[in-house]
Symmetry: C2
Subunit: 397 residues, 2 copies
């Protein structure tokens, strides 16, 4: 008799964005003429860089001839992309990595979820709270216990180093949803904690491209000792608008080892490689050629211009809502603005903005207990929509 993974019968039924979609659909049905603007889900709106689309068209052309046809690629990704990543995202910041330490994937979300495959279900998982729901949901599905580390205005949204021991710790800076960043000194405290407690850090730096302040680290590998305790996850989704194209990557340094039941130290890099070879067939060749073009001179300047566009949106949101008397956080080295709600009920404020301003945001409570009392606004809208949404919000207050 076939049995289900019973953890699925125990996890919370509704995914945050599904609940939002449901409320929006209900409002739309009641108000079919309403022009709703969404600054809720963190999807980009600007076209892809022309360097990227040209490269992808060339990749499509490759597949029209027997000579240039690309079938199965390496499960780990093509070296043409892995070497560009090493050169541009790491070597230029003084971080030394080799191609076998880079695994190309179809996006950070897949890898952040699937990484659990290689970890014991008995690990205690730590997450900063509020938290990207994927960390919690994917570990709950595997039956792991989760500890929430509150990130509030009082501790600068970076979380206090825990006194208890955590086996696997998710960190995300610039943070989704708070837009908070962490200093080198702050990140060094987490690395020191991890080295002392033999904690594995899963470092999500999907938003590093939005960092403008040179004092803020882009990679956890800027911190000494981190290669022995951290995996880093990155994505082209927000760096280059690849949310529909699907390409990301995961870095597992060769130095990184964790414990087996027998007490042996096991290197994670070959274990993840084994997982990927059995459960993944590589990211699309076209997506990988597109990602490669992000690192060309033209691709770099084009994608940076788009990031600047979104950062300007963030600035507009921050400034306007501040002037309206709301307390705002984030949005300076990140595409997310974290806004304290007038009353301590984020779904109530969500409903207020939907009904009074026809603007969709994300209620902080959906990100965890410490998200209550806040909403998340994204800077990924068009300028026009962003300005109009903010004006409507101001009028509704």
């Amino acid at each position: 008799m076939a049995y289900i993974n019973d953890n699925f019968t125990k996890i919370q039924h509704r995914y945050l964005f599904a609940e939002i979609a449901k409320r929006v659909a209900a409002y739309k049905e009641a108000n079919p003429a309403a022009k709703i603007i969404s600054l809720g889900i963190g999807d980009v709106t600007q076209p892809l860089a022309s360097a990227v689309t040209q490269a992808m068209k060339k990749a499509v052309d490759d597949c029209t001839t027997t000579q240039n046809f690309h079938g199965y690629g390496p499960e780990q990704g093509y070296d043409f992309l892995r070497s560009k990543i090493i050169e541009n995202d790491y070597a230029k910041r003084g971080i030394s990595l080799t191609v076998d330490e880079i695994f190309i994937s179809d996006g950070a979300k897949s890898d952040l979820g699937n990484i659990g495959d290689i970890l014991s279900v008995n690990n205690i998982i730590g997450v900063t709270d509020p938290v990207y729901p994927v960390y919690v949901d994917t570990n709950s599905m595997a039956g792991r216990t989760i500890k929430y580390i509150p990130c509030t205005a009082e501790n600068g949204f970076t979380g206090d180093i825990p006194s208890e021991k955590i086996d696997v710790m998710y960190l995300c800076f610039p943070n989704n949803p708070t837009g908070a960043v962490i200093t080198r000194q702050g990140l060094k405290q987490w690395v020191d904690y991890a080295l002392k407690n033999d904690t594995l850090i899963l470092y999500d730096s999907a938003y590093e491209a939005f960092i403008t302040d040179p004092a803020i680290p882009h990679s956890i590998y800027e911190i000494d000792g981190s290669k022995e305790c951290a995996i880093e996850f990155r994505s082209f989704s927000k760096t280059a608008g690849f949310t529909g194209i699907r390409c990301g990557y995961t870095v597992i340094p060769n130095e990184l080892k964790i414990q087996s039941e027998s007490g042996k130290r096991v290197a994670l890099n070959p274990v993840w490689n084994r997982r990927q070879c059995s459960k993944f067939n590589g990211a699309s060749y076209i997506s990988q050629r597109g990602a490669e073009a992000v690192f060309s001179a033209e691709g770099y300047s084009q994608t940076r211009a788009t990031i600047q566009y979104y950062l300007t949106n963030a600035q507009i949101i921050r400034d306007s809502l501040s002037k309206s008397g709301l307390e705002v956080f984030g949005g300076e080295n990140a595409p997310y603005i974290w806004v304290r709600t007038p009353e301590h009920d984020s779904w109530k404020f969500f409903d207020h903005l939907l009904h009074r301003a026809q603007v969709v945001v994300t209620p902080g409570a959906g990100f965890g207990p410490s998200g209550e009392g806040y909403i998340r606004i994204t800077a990924f809208g068009t300028r026009e929509n962003t300005k109009e949404a903010i004006e409507r919000i101001e009028r509704s207050l």
Copy 2:
């Protein structure tokens, strides 16, 4: 202290194709001038259909404007593709499905591995032997026990219905690696067994496009009662040459329920949906537009012509090796030819063909105990390489 999933320390270290690659690399190093032909790994060689590449270029163009830009798609895939699948792959064969029963993915390998996420680790897994290594490896990684059901020339390579109870049974027809097909009557026996024993069938029909005999079922859903016991996996990899493009799909009928620990029957469709929403972000928009074009009149006739090209290769391989006195199976409704080796040692025959004919095949032993004494040859080469490889093999015997 972070702990590894200890199953990874217990599984066999080397993946079949990695071992082949190693032996080929060693031969190449010793014989740098040798012109090696690979009929080993099942990768396609023919260009994509022009209908597909045109659709993908248009999809790239969509991403150059704000109006037509496609960011995050539905995790389940776009309805434009799901509805085409229902109409062409199922409705035309009298099978009724709805869009919510189709989940688009980045390929069947991902789904065949990841489906384990929603199943208890205590399930006893059945596989037909010889077997596509992904079924065994991914379940071993999760710590599941695997039973091998021998598929030999004596039972027509379809496996005897087991007397013992199996919780989850993988079936693949047309089969990789043997090229065997199953009749409706044969498949009905498996469905009856599953319904009687509450077994979940995972039906891999990645090669159904190679079926030419109208008596052979393309889908398990052609068999009554199968919607209550089977998940079906399909891929555009071999149907349309998408090995580098990445697109496949999984069908989970709404009727399909399995047991929870509490004794409740749980529908698998919403559980897989929950898994996908948390661990996957949809297949590339470009790949999905390419897959959609496979169902256009032009795309259909172009992709069918390529399948016919490979089937002709298969015919050439079958006929030639038979004349040379080798016993051959498969290759008539499948792209794989399963050849009995002159001596009962498939790695030895592999080495013979590599060293004496400079042809790479896949040793049957790599697919499981019952694969010993056979090699797999694929029909996915170019005509020229296929002919030359077969001539060389004949000369080497």
